[in-house]
Every structure is written in structure tokens, then in C-alpha cells.
Symmetry: C2
């Protein structure tokens, strides 16, 4: 096969299947550690640096540059729109992960996609997080709705299965819907 | 009080306490809906637009501009580093939210902070998400570690309490550690 023939939805399926085979042969290469380093900039403004990660039994050296991400709050939450707020970043993480998972899933199943868009909305009553009424309201989102609109060269039922498969294999969907234990340590200087 | 006197850690505490009073008087203004709209760009690359939200019984009109956020994957996960990956965005959302929560909490308690940084690391064995071994591995992070380093004009024990209070009031910390129900809908076109 030529390279062109193995690329579907922008994903090199030959490399994908080779990666799966490599993991089956040596499962310890599947262990990843992702990282973020955050610095408070003042008020509602803080900034994360993203670059290094651990994978395939070593520190990654492929990324030559990283990214900085600014978070803020709108005026109604005492900020100055220094960036999307943390709750909006959470929705973006979810959207991005389900999308990539379903695109990879479609590539593996021979489905060529034409377009994928999604709209997400999360419900939050800030009486919890603001400490006004912690009996009746949790701090976090009470519910998140995600609508994926998809088109491609497969019947509607197959496209639906691709989306559901993406959901069922998504790192962030699982992390948010089922929860993750978080260990918090504090260093005072 | 002058405006200068009410601002602590870059947070206007007079506005903060007025907001809390307003919510106590009219709890329905505390209902928020945050949103993200994502578009697949090809392969591991997708992009979210963030702007509108609902709060205080109305659609927000304060934000004049929004943001776009690019997500990608490193080469080892079949991408081209088009942006941080979704799992890294999740860590950023967590870092940002705990930071803002603790900064606001410190402002409310009269603690002036000098610096707040945090390092986050999430453990992930991709045998789950890749479908290689779904018996032994979940899709999502198995564990997240967050270390907050903080300094300010209060004793170490008080600074520690400020961080713990930030954790205990954080929207994203609660969402990730306790989970959120997510409704997924699919539209085929």
C-alpha cells in the first residue's frame, strides 16, 4: 500500500494498526503521564504551560515547542475575560476528546468522514461553588449535554455507531463521566 | 472604602460580597450554562469556539470577543501537535479552576497571596482507550496528582487552608473527582 491509501480522515491507519500491534507485544509502552504547569497571573487570570509528557517508557522528545493557555473569568464572575474560564476549558477537553476518538474509530472501520461538529452545554448553579447553598447544590456541573453532528460515506446507523464508539473509547468522556481520584498536595514557601 | 482598598489578589472583594448578597436575595441568578462549539479540522486536529454563556437569567452580552482553542495529538498518538491534546486540556482546566477558587477564597478571608503555581500529572494507560485491553484498564486517567506551591502574607497553616478551601469549592475539581452525567446526542446529516 502507498501512504496515500493508508491515510483515512487524516489518520494514517497503517501507523495506527502498527501502534496497536506494538502495544500488544509490549504493553508497558501504553503507560502515559500527561502534565500541565500553571502560574497565577493575578485575579482570575492564570496560565498553564503544556509541553512534556511521558510515553513508551521514556520522556517525550518529539515536541520542540509547547503551548501556553490563559484562563480567566467573565465580569459576572469577577474577572476580565482574560481567557475562557476553567469550566469552558473542561467542555472543550470533552469535545476534543470525543471528536478525536470518533475520527480514529471511523478511520479504523473504513468510514470516511466529511464533517464533525459538536455543541456542548454544561449546567452549573454557582450557589454550590460560591458557598451560598452547599446543601442543595454541588460545586461542579450538574449535567453536560453534547450533540454531535456528523456526515460521511456511511449509512446513518453506521455514523451513529462511530460516534458512540468514540464516546465509549474517549479518555476525557470516561474521566468526566466516571470521575478520577485527584491527590492534592500543598507546599508553602 | 475606596476601590483600591477592596481589591485583594486582583479580586474586587466589594463586588464579590455584593454578588454573594445578590445571589442570596435572588437564587435563580446563580444558574449558569457554559458552552463550547467544536469543529473537526482533519485527523487529530479539532477546534473549539468559546464565547456565549447564560447567567443571571439571561444570555451574556458582556463578552465582545471569544476564543478559539486548537486541540491535537503528538506523533506517538497519530497527530502532528496541532495543539495540546484533550487530556492535557483537562489538566489545565483543573489547574485553572483550583487556582481561581483558592485566589478568591484568599481574597474573601483577607489573605494576600504573593505567588501560586501548580504542577499536575495524570496517569493514563492507553490500553483502555485504544481498545487493546479494556478488561484491566479504563479509558480515562487512573489518577491525577496536583501539587500547589503557594506564598502569601499568612502563616503556612492558613495558606494550606486556603488551598484546601479552593479545592473544596472548585467547579472542575468536583466535576472531575466526582463525575458528571453527560448526555450524548447524535445527528447524522
Amino acid at each position: 500500500m502507498t501512504s496515500t491509501e493508508t491515510v483515512r480522515n487524516g489518520v494514517d491507519t497503517a501507523t495506527m494498526f502498527a501502534t496497536l500491534d506494538a502495544i500488544k507485544a509490549q504493553p508497558e509502552i501504553a503507560q502515559f503521564r500527561f502534565r500541565a504547569r500553571n502560574t497565577w497571573m493575578g485575579g482570575a487570570h492564570n496560565r498553564s504551560a503544556i509541553k512534556g509528557f511521558y510515553a513508551a517508557c521514556a520522556e517525550d522528545s518529539s515536541r520542540t515547542a509547547g503551548w501556553t493557555l490563559d484562563a480567566g473569568e467573565p465580569a459576572i464572575l469577577l474577572g476580565a475575560d482574560e481567557g475562557p474560564n476553567p469550566a469552558e476549558y473542561l467542555l472543550h477537553a470533552l469535545a476534543a476528546c470525543v471528536t478525536t476518538s470518533l475520527v480514529y474509530s471511523a478511520a479504523a472501520r473504513g468510514v470516511r468522514l466529511t464533517s464533525v461538529t459538536s455543541e456542548l452545554e454544561g449546567d452549573l448553579d454557582v450557589q454550590g461553588a460560591m458557598g451560598v447553598n452547599t446543601e442543595d447544590f454541588r460545586n461542579g456541573f450538574s449535567r453536560i449535554r453534547m450533540t454531535v453532528t456528523i456526515s460521511g460515506d456511511a449509512p446513518a446507523e453506521k455514523l451513529r455507531q462511530v460516534v458512540e464508539r468514540g464516546r465509549d473509547r474517549s479518555v476525557v468522556f470516561d474521566s468526566i463521566s466516571n470521575g478520577v481520584p485527584i491527590d492534592l498536595s500543598v507546599v508553602t514557601v
